[in-house]
């Protein structure tokens, strides 16, 4: 028994001596080590307890974020946001309303739809006259839109995919893929065919822009 205890003590000795070993003093020019300011890592909560997701809940973007997002993604501003509409959509004036309302309520949904239509239609129409595709935002990979030879229904699958991946990345910061990409491609095919029929090519891009801008991914983060 004594022999067993002695062996056990001998086995534990290195571990004890390692734990007690003091850190070497810093050398000349070396920064002194500091303890981890973050302490121990708190594990993420169980996703099952949070409807399958972890982290904070998504939030609706503020009016200022919306304004910037539209300008960045579409390329033209939604001018009405600078007027009274910004307040209607929830912007705080810090006089009567001191907290921004970021609830995607009826009024927000209504005016976002209006705003999406306004800027998307205007931008899509303007892009018809922009010859350089890289200067466009909604029809980036389509050659000359005014050219009679261009036909949106004749775009290859790869071209449509490229367009939609570009647009989804631009609008949401995440590229479309999988089944969802197929659904969006189907939408584009439908609206493109109709747009060609009614000779209003810009409407196909406007429709895609409206659909992406009114998607929850555009207005949440």
């Amino acid at each position: 028994m004594r022999r067993l205890v002695a062996v056990a003590l001998l086995a534990l000795a290195p571990a004890c001596s390692q734990e007690e070993k003091a850190p070497a003093p810093p050398m000349e020019g070396q920064l002194e080590p500091i303890p981890n300011p973050h302490g121990s890592v708190t594990p993420l909560p169980d996703p099952e307890l949070q409807e399958g997701s972890v982290g904070r809940a998504p939030r609706r973007i503020t009016v200022a974020q919306l304004q910037t997002s539209i300008l960045t993604t579409v390329g033209i501003p939604w001018a009405e946001l600078d007027g009274g509409l910004g307040t209607t959509l929830g912007r705080a004036d810090y006089a009567n309303i001191v907290t921004e309302n970021i609830e995607p309520n009826l009024v927000f949904a209504k005016f976002l739809e209006d705003g999406a239509r306004k800027v998307c239609k205007a931008r899509a129409r303007a892009e018809l006259d922009i010859v350089d595709p890289t200067a466009r935002t909604l029809s980036r990979n389509i050659p000359n839109l005014r050219d009679a030879a261009t036909n949106l229904t004749k775009l290859s699958d790869a071209q449509v995919t490229e367009l939609l991946v570009y647009l989804s990345t631009r609008f949401w910061g995440a590229p479309l893929s999988g089944d969802e990409l197929t659904r969006w491609k189907s939408l584009f095919t439908q609206v493109a065919a109709r747009a060609e029929t009614v000779r209003a090519r810009d409407q196909a891009f406007a429709a895609m822009c409206i659909a992406m801008m009114t998607d929850p991914r555009f207005l949440t983060y």
């Binding site: 997701s53 309303i97 995607p104 309520n105 109709r194 409407q203 991914r217």
Partner: protein, 460 residues
């Protein structure tokens, strides 16, 4: 916190059915309105509220706290410090004595000032509270005090507007729970659904309710609508998780419902279908309808069509009459009271879907930020006065009843036993928070934010 015991529900299934109908045609044109209306008609709230603000500080001698000019004569000014001045109005439309109407053999217990006019015939629905101590002579402080039921800090409002409290607690299923028409609105503790839609004019409301004029080709619109009805991807679901996405989806459904119902047409009083509204409220054949009568018509439409539960409105203004004649004040008040009388006429002759009339389901609070001095100043006007009065009408409050009184010496705010309404030197002042607590209690809502008890004798 007490909740509405019978909240009305706009069924999601009904909305989806209606949307399916919408999807069969174009988005904004050629809608199957009849089919939609049958499946997704909006229901008026079971309990409605109207907050009517008379802007500028009213002369309560002309409104809800009159005095007999044969008693309060110019000769007794030094003794009473009150001069009704009804004879100075000098217009045949205004009586020179307080009005005490009678209806169906019942005499009013409430005396009204000459400016109240036709509204006084609805005394059988009213409670008047007199002798309220506003504790302020500042416009902003006064109306914010009445707006929230909490005394402002300096001139900054505290707490939520009473309308916000109401829709925050009721959480009504109506498209725009609270409308604030040219009046401030506050929300300090409720989610966004309780926020009022603040509009400065009727056109703002129309813009909210009307479909966008930026439409695409009808078939493309249809394709877009069909696409939105498809199930979303896992990633989209993740962004939409935990509230925000569902709220947004519901909001979009509501938008479709509102647009498909063409609720904006209800507020386009120039339309032929609204001829009866024009006639009732004496509106011109073309807008804009931003006068008192137009605002009253807007209130009635918002409540009756099931669009809103609360409407807070700056009904009339021009009452800050430090200069000029008594006629100016009387005229400006009269426009507001006449419009209000038409509104009450309308509400008490319109059946509510839950039974009785709309007036039986509606509480109206009429207030101003303070009153005007009982004596006329050197410029022929009246200045700001501390004591005030207000009117409560309709559901949840006693009818043909007066609570409190202002003093016969300079119309000073009185002190009362607030449990009984009896004047007593050892009692308390009536304050705006008592009025707001009473309004909330009249609908069995939580009034603890006011930190006072309601005026129980007023409660029906």
């Amino acid at each position: 916190m007490k909740k509405n015991p019978n909240p009305l529900h706009l069924e999601r299934r009904g909305l989806l059915k209606a949307l399916a109908g919408v999807a069969g045609t174009t988005l904004f044109g050629g809608l199957p309105f009849r089919a939609f209306a049958q499946t997704a008609s909006l229901q008026p709230a079971d309990r409605c509220f109207v907050f009517v603000y008379f802007s500028g500080g009213w002369d309560q001698l002309l409104a809800f706290d009159p005095r007999d000019p044969t008693v309060f004569t110019p000769e007794r000014i030094s003794e009473t410090r009150i001069l009704p001045g009804y004879n100075l109005i000098n217009d045949s439309r205004f009586e020179t004595m307080p009005l005490v109407p009678e209806k169906n053999g019942v005499r009013s217990n409430i005396a009204f000032g000459p400016a109240v006019g036709q509204l006084s015939t609805h005394f059988d629905l009213m409670t008047v509270v007199r002798g309220i101590n506003m504790n302020t002579l500042g416009h902003e402080v006064g109306y914010r005090y009445f707006n929230t039921g909490k005394r402002p800090i300096g001139s900054a409002a505290r707490g939520s507007s009473t309308a916000t409290e109401i829709v925050g607690q009721f959480a009504p299923v109506v498209p725009i729970p609270s409308i604030a028409y040219n009046i401030e609105t506050y929300n300090d503790r409720y989610p966004g659904h309780a926020n009022a839609l603040r509009v400065s004019r009727s056109r703002d409301l129309l813009d909210t309710l009307k479909a966008s004029t930026d439409v695409l080709d009808p078939e493309i619109e249809q394709q877009l609508l069909g696409f939105r009805d498809q199930p979303t991807s896992c990633e989209a679901e993740a962004y939409a998780a935990r509230g925000v996405g569902e709220t947004y989806a519901n909001s979009r459904e509501q938008v479709q419902s509102v647009l498909a119902s063409r609720l904006d047409n209800a507020f386009r009083f120039e339309l032929a279908e609204n001829a009866a509204v024009r006639q009732r409220y004496g509106l011109a054949s073309s807008g804009p309808y931003d006068n008192e009568a137009g605002r009253a018509a807007l209130i009635a439409t918002a409540l009756k069509k099931g669009i809103s539960q609360c409407v807070s409105i700056n009904l009339t203004g021009g009452l800050d009459t430090h200069f000029g004649t008594q006629l100016t004040q009387a005229n400006n008040q009269r426009r507001g009271f006449d419009a209000l009388a038409t509104l009450v006429d309308d509400l008490r002759t319109t059946d509510h879907p839950s039974g009785d009339t709309f007036m039986d389901h509606t509480t109206i609070l009429v207030f101003s930020e303070f009153s005007r001095t009982p004596l006329i100043n050197a410029n022929g006007g009246r200045d700001h006065h501390l004591s005030n009065s207000c009117l409560l009408m309709g559901a949840g409050v006693k009818h043909n009843y007066v609570f409190g009184a202002s003093g016969d010496l300079g119309m000073a705010p009185g002190t009362f036993d607030l449990r009984t309404g009896a004047a007593t030197p050892t009692g308390e002042n009536i304050l705006p928070e008592h009025i707001i607590a009473t309004v909330l209690a009249s609908a069995n809502l939580d009034y603890s934010i006011t930190r006072v008890e309601p005026l129980k004798p007023i409660l029906a």
